[in-house]
């Protein structure tokens, strides 16, 4: 094999006149592709409390609980109590979540969805517990 010392130098010299490949991330916005999985959001209206998401969550980061304020039981026109949809809240532990979005996939009512909000670092761990109402 022919040996060529300093083989990389022409490319290095070219780079002297090029812009750096580095992305100045915190100062510049990072570009994300559509479909990047980040923070999971929750829609109270749609949740029926089947807790499938809790069952599949690998990190046990999601918890579906009964909301504190439930709607008053109503009576129908015939005087009998009408069935009322219970309201469920979702507690997301972002410090445990691994952003696999398996919960989004399994949700039968599409109450969960992923966003592209990925800048979630916090100094206080308590702030990483999100209570979706």
């Amino acid at each position: 094999m022919p040996k060529k010392p300093m083989r990389i130098l022409p490319e290095a010299a070219k780079n002297l006149f090029k812009k750096a490949a580095t992305v100045a991330y915190p100062f510049e916005k990072a570009s994300l592709y559509e479909g990047y999985r980040a923070r999971i959001i929750f829609d109270v209206e749609k949740c029926i409390g089947c807790k499938m998401c809790m069952r599949v969550c690998p990190a046990k980061a999601i918890e579906i609980v009964l909301a504190e304020n439930q709607p008053q039981p109503q009576t129908g026109p015939d005087g009998k109590p009408m069935p009322v949809k219970k309201i469920f809240n979702c507690i997301m532990s972002l410090d445990r979540c691994i952003y696999c979005a398996q919960c989004v996939e399994i949700c039968p009512k599409k109450a969960l969805a992923y966003t592209q909000d990925f800048e979630l670092a916090q100094i206080d761990r308590k702030k990483l517990k999100l209570h979706y109402k």
């Binding site: 130098l9 290095a12 780079n15 090029k18 750096a20 580095t22």
Partner: protein, 313 residues
């Protein structure tokens, strides 16, 4: 009065203060140019200064079993010997001191830091540092002879052992600089070894022996060692400039200073390009490269110089 003047020369200009500031600036330039060559951003201009201040403010940890006095004194010896060496090299026109044989004196003064690196590793009593210091010594035997031989060539041609006279000779015979190219290449490569930079940075190759001879050093002492290497880079570049490229080119005061800055910067740029373009070689490969290629090349340069000298007569 003379002693006072000498002290000022050593501590302020062109000694310690000038060398330290120019050395850190060159270190930044070296890091920045290497970074740009690698297509990344590189450190901001104050990075080297910040590194120094940060290190200086850190605690000094001295390992058990180390000779405390020696351990603490070594960095100062390294800095002092480099600061002294620059007095014989033209920076602002004429060098501060000049005598027949100062070329040899400078080479010896520049060997003292290497000796302190060896002692630093050896007195640290840690396996990584011991291996590092053995490598420092082995490497010294590799590059020192080619460097000396390369510097002998111009000295023979000029018929003088004084750095000032050698550069003056080249200023009056500028065409002869072209014939020094082999010696120049040898000297630059040997200087790379002296400064322990890639491809010859085996003494403190971090992937192999962590910090090498400086493994146990911390705080101000480590900062001073780093500074001494930066200063050595300036002095080494200035020495090559004076011996091979005609020094400050007969100019005096600020014009001479500008020439000095431009030329040393160009030599450091070369050193950076070498650093960026190569992988680190093993210590045995380094020594065999120096003896198999560099030393014969330097000898060839001496032969060429002898031929030129006698054909000129």
């Amino acid at each position: 009065m003379e002693i006072l003047a000498a002290l000022i020369y050593i501590t302020v200009f062109p000694g310690f203060l000038f060398l330290a500031s120019y050395g850190t600036a060159l270190q930044w330039a070296d890091r920045k140019i290497a970074a740009v060559m690698q297509n990344r951003v590189g450190p901001p201009w104050y990075q080297t200064l910040a590194d120094f201040i940060k290190l200086a403010s850190k605690e000094i940890v001295i390992p058990d079993g180390a000779d405390v006095a020696l351990f603490k004194a070594l960095p100062y010896v390294a800095v002092a010997s480099v600061s002294t060496a620059v007095l014989f090299i033209p920076v602002f026109g004429m060098p501060v001191y000049s005598f027949q044989g100062d070329l040899v004196a400078v080479i010896y003064l520049l060997t003292i830091p290497t000796a302190t690196f060896f002692l630093a590793g050896w007195s640290s009593t840690s396996p990584y540092a011991s291996i590092g210091s053995i490598r420092v010594m082995t490497q010294l035997f590799g590059y020192e002879v080619p460097l000396l031989l390369a510097l002998v060539g111009p000295a023979i041609l000029a018929g003088s052992w004084s750095i000032q006279e050698i550069s003056a000779f080249f200023v009056s015979n500028p065409k002869l600089i072209l014939f020094q190219i082999i010696g120049f290449v040898v000297a630059v490569l040997a200087l790379q070894g002296k400064l322990e930079r890639v491809p010859f940075d085996t003494p403190h190759a971090k992937n192999e022996i962590v910090g090498g001879q400086f493994t146990e050093y911390s705080g101000m002492l480590l900062a001073l060692f780093n500074l001494s290497i930066d200063m050595e880079m300036v002095v080494g570049a200035a020495l090559i400039n004076a011996v091979f490229l005609g020094g400050t080119w007969n100019y005096f005061s600020f014009a001479a200073f500008a020439v000095f800055m431009v030329k040393t910067f160009a030599i450091v740029f070369l050193l950076t390009a070498i650093r960026a373009a190569m992988a680190r070689v093993r210590i045995d490969q380094m020594v065999s490269f120096c003896w198999k290629y560099l030393a014969p090349m330097a000898m060839l340069q001496i032969v060429i110089d002898l031929y030129i000298k006698y054909s000129l007569k």
